[in-house]
């Protein structure tokens, strides 16, 4: 069985007539050809952000896929009709073969994107990636003022990021500023938007932290207040209007404070998947946190196409058949697919429950109250991400 896209007519039409975001029509049980894949080349990273969504149990360098293995992965992805690949991590630039992998993706006609903290880049390295056909670069920023940004990252990297963003523009690479926001830096959002404009970025992605992996461990230090979220919405709306045609602003509303959950990954196993440093194929980058699921690996004797179509981890929560109430009889079930499985697992103990971010979930109010309480009284000290299982930030650094 080869994957076929059942219906290419879009559900969400773009305001532009005749140009729509490619998404198959919402046929509950269906899935199409995956559009994009996140390749986590490594878990190694010089930064130690407490909001990282990587699992607490990180993969060591020795278990990472080799250059040849990643190339084979890319070849298979192009064959099954994947259009975009995101090179991510950890920090993807720790891999010495990054330019070679990008070149391979280019040769296969894949659109390649690099998601990086940029602190390990030099102008020469970046030029080599651009020459290899890199289509777009996303640089993460922890704040717009060095002291706070470096404290959040547990690494003095802010000025290097600014420099690298400048190189990206000199090399003609389209640039997105990734602004990961939480309670301790939301006050810098207007400054970060100004910074993105000054850096001549094409886009800024304003994403509130999602609580998986390390971020869940650090939730009390990260959870924003309701007042902050209201401010954020206002700031984003105002800036989007003012900067139309100059800076594209993507905003992901934090779903702890929303009425309905986000449509996680466009629906489980519908359009995207993720490959871990050691080659496990996951329906979402945080899926390994769901300990009740087993994941297939590209190192097995199954092809990626087989895994996408047949593996239990993908099929378990595909479509709407698996849903319990209140989702099963809900009018929104094909719009949000019951929310995020990882969040349901983390907060209720079962990935098969309604995402508690939904106000109809029986657990919603309890969790919402916890979030609110944490945002008001939670500690500001981070647990830094590292291979040692995390290090608590020293007290004197509290702000």
């Amino acid at each position: 069985m080869s994957p076929t896209l059942l219906d290419t007519s879009p559900v969400f039409a773009d305001p532009t007539d005749g140009l729509a975001i490619l998404e198959e029509k919402s046929v509950a049980e269906s899935y199409g050809i995956p559009l994009a894949v996140l390749l986590e080349l490594t878990h190694r990273c010089p930064l130690q952000c407490g909001y990282c969504s990587n699992p607490i149990e990180m993969e060591r360098a020795g278990n990472e896929l080799s250059t040849e293995e990643w190339k084979k992965v890319l070849t298979e992805l192009a064959e099954i009709g994947v259009l975009q690949v995101h090179f991510s991590g950890g920090e993807p630039t720790v891999r010495k073969d990054l330019a070679e992998l990008i070149q391979h993706a280019t040769d296969l006609g894949l659109y390649s994107n690099l998601i990086t903290s940029a602190v390990l880049l030099t102008r020469e390295k970046l030029a080599a990636l651009a020459d290899a056909g890199l289509c777009h670069i996303q640089i993460s920023f922890q704040g717009n003022e060095p002291e706070l940004a470096n404290r959040i990252a547990g690494f003095k990297g802010h000025s290097k990021k600014l420099e690298a963003a400048g190189w990206a523009r000199e090399l003609g690479l389209p640039l997105t500023v990734n602004a990961v926001m939480h309670r301790q830096n939301l006050h810098q959002l207007p400054g970060m938007i100004d910074m993105a404009v000054a850096l001549d970025a094409d886009r800024i992605e304003v994403a509130n932290v999602q609580y998986y992996g390390w971020a869940l461990k650090n939730r009390a230090a990260l959870m924003p207040t309701i007042a902050q979220i209201d401010d954020t919405t206002r700031i984003v709306e105002e800036a989007s209007e003012r900067l139309r045609g100059i800076l594209d602003i993507d905003y992901v509303v934090p779903d702890y404070y929303a009425d309905r959950p986000k449509k996680c990954m466009g629906g489980w196993g519908r359009q995207f998947f993720n490959i871990t440093p050691a080659g496990k194929v996951l329906p979402c980058h945080a899926a390994e946190t769901i300990t009740e699921l087993d994941f297939e690996s590209v190192r097995s004797n199954h092809s990626i196409a087989w895994i996408w179509q047949n593996s239990d981890a993908f099929n378990r929560y595909r479509g709407t058949g698996w849903m319990p109430e209140p989702c099963q009889s809900c009018a929104f079930k094909e719009l949000d697919f019951g929310g995020c499985r990882c969040q349901a697992f983390a907060l209720t103990g079962s990935a098969g429950n309604t995402d508690p971010a939904c106000s109809l979930s029986p657990r919603h109010h309890e969790i919402f109250r916890t979030a609110e309480a944490e945002s008001a009284t939670g500690t500001n000290r981070y647990i830094y991400r590292n291979f040692a299982g995390g290090t608590l930030e020293p007290e004197q650094q509290e702000v």
Binding site: P3, L5, T8, P10, D14, P15, T16, D17, G18, L19, A20, I21, L22, I33, L35, A36, I80, G81, L83, Q84, G109, Y111, N113, C135, H136, Q138, N144, L162, R169, G172, L173, P174, T176, G191, D194, M195, V197, A198, L199, D200, D202, R203, E205, R244, G245, I246, L247, D248, D250
Partner: protein, 109 residues
């Protein structure tokens, strides 16, 4: 880093007949064999242009002006130039608003 002025290369593009549009870097138009259709690849998204949108995008080659594009399509479809012109400009303005189409003459080399 608190300067808020946009660099000269990045100014809001107001699409007019004398604009010379081209696809922005990071925007790729290609035929997708697996799905048997044209796709527009942009950061974080895949767009599905319809037939006429594909034709307009293909004409955004950095040499033709918007007026040339309208002339070309009006001739190809034997349609009134006014109507085609309004549609073409509206579509390009939207694409420019999202940063997928830029002015060729001011684009960074």
């Amino acid at each position: 880093m608190t300067a808020v002025t946009a660099p000269a290369a990045r100014r809001r593009l107001i699409v007019a007949e004398d604009s010379v549009p081209t696809l922005a870097r990071g925007t790729r138009l290609r035929y997708d064999e697996a799905r048997q259709r044209w796709v527009l690849l942009v950061p974080e998204r895949v767009m599905a242009p319809d037939e006429i949108a594909v034709e307009i995008l293909q004409l955004c080659d950095g040499r033709r002006s918007v007026a040339d594009i309208i002339d070309h399509l009006a001739a190809a479809y034997a349609a009134p130039r006014d109507e085609i012109g309004t549609d073409v400009i509206a579509m390009l303005q939207d694409l420019a608003g999202s940063g997928f189409v830029v002015e060729a003459r001011k684009a960074t080399p």
